[in-house]
Amino acid sequence: MAIIEPNEPAVTADEVSFNYSKLKVLDDLSLEVPPGVSFGLLGPNGAGKTTLIRLLVGLIKPKSGSVKLLGQPPSRRIAHRIGYMPQLHSLYSELSITQNVNFYARIYRVTNRAEREQRVEEAIRLVDLWERRKDQVMKLSGGMKQRVSLACAIVHHPPVLFLDEPTVGLDPELRVTFWEHFAYLTGQGTTLIISSHTMDDAAHCDLLAFMREGKIIARGSPTELQQATGKPGSTLEEAFLYFIHREAGNGS
């Protein structure tokens, strides 16, 4: 796995705003993600999570504010150092699992053939689809497609990995498997930025940012956020609601 400078944040967003025509999607949002952690962006649908991820990977530009990835503005120059798993499966359904993963390995500049074959195998084995590697993607279940999509995102060993709602639509068993993969990746030094709207996912993250209406309303570790409610034994749902009410109180 590629290494990030120990003191350098993997990702920073500084007072970032973004809007689709008149709709404000991100509102002066600031964020700093330390390297080697799993960082969860938690919030309801429409909170701006996907827009933030698209902005962080350089697919869209902020209307104001700035973004840095590994200390640099997002650009093609550093694109090979990030992995991106979009919300849609974004796979070529006519191609086999191996062909899909191999394609992404090639465009992410894993040029040495022997190394590429090894990484493709490693990625497919990691998501436990080696036995199905010759199957066309169109013949796979939704959960399997999610796994192929993850393999495509990690095949080039990126130090920073963006996962947009990676567990949506997965059954509980597969969800556990995914979190095992993610723990393995952070163990290898990869920084994960994961968006989700379920608190099940939130509990697995090292750090969380609760998002609502384009803003981050709270951040910290799951335990810190639970303790901030002041009620012993609070769940993350309760913590989220607590911060929503507090934000509403501040706004009124």
Partner: protein
């Protein structure tokens, strides 16, 4: 631009289409059916000889535009374009990769149409066969890029199909395919002078009917190459990071 990246994309497109056997069958069969019907509907061989170059140019433009436009739109709607745009691949790599990927199939289709027209429909021609092929290659290269560019403005396949009556059909009526441009009102003649099919039809007619060479049709060839370059640039420019979705 990194040629190996464009090559990777081209190989992926070829692999995708090869594994989609129904599409491959349609790529081969549809032009044969269309040309057979046209051949049967023109019992007078002299009329067919005259109209054949225009049909070859039109079908090359139409099929290449449609094939690329729909495929590229799928790339947008399925999110794979967005995923590629987040990678180190440049816009030019994508356009060139697409061009080469689809070029192979568009060329196959064109070869089938030309050979069928000449050897089965028995259309007479005077120019060299290889010069006819070269001219057709320029047409399909432009059409592939026009398809990519046009797909920018469609959000689904239904919308993409609507571009056929908007972009292809007017050219059939205005570019001398059915009746001579000279017989049209001045303003329509002006319009036809800015449409690529006019030059495609004129150039191919000169080669096939008058036995002219590529050098003789340098103006038409040059204009077609110009259209191709413009469409390539437009296709690359409109592929902004973030254009998808």
């Amino acid at each position: 631009m990194v040629p190996s990246q464009a090559f990777t994309i081209a190989v992926r497109i070829i692999n995708q289409l090869i594994r989609d056997r129904r599409t491959i069958a349609l790529i081969v069969v549809v032009p044969l059916v269309v040309m057979s019907l046209i051949g049967l509907s023109f019992p007078e061989s002299t009329v067919l000889d005259y109209i054949a170059p225009a049909l070859l140019a039109t079908l090359a433009l139409f099929f290449s535009f449609l094939l690329t436009g729909i495929s590229f739109l799928r790339e947008r709607s399925q999110g794979t374009l967005e995923r590629i745009m987040a990678s180190p691949v440049s816009r030019l790599d994508i356009v060139v990769g697409y061009l080469f990927g689809f070029f192979l199939f568009a060329l196959t289709q064109t070869v089938i149409i030309i050979l069928f027209t000449i050897y089965v429909l028995d259309v007479h021609y005077y120019g060299d066969l290889w010069q006819i092929f070269i001219f057709q290659i320029v047409i399909i290269t432009g059409a592939v890029n026009l398809g990519i560019f046009t797909s920018t403005f469609a959000r689904n396949e239904f919308q993409m199909v609507q571009f056929i009556p908007l972009i292809i059909v007017p050219q059939i009526f205005l570019c001398g395919v059915i009746w001579p441009v000279e017989q049209m009102p001045d303003y329509l003649q002006w319009l036809s002078s800015v449409l690529p099919l006019t030059y495609a039809v004129d150039g191919l007619r000169d080669i096939m009917l008058a036995g002219k060479t590529l050098l003789d049709v340098g103006l038409e060839l040059g204009v077609m190459v110009g259209f191709t370059v413009v469409f390539s640039i437009l296709a690359a420019v409109t592929l902004r990071r973030g254009a998808a979705g």
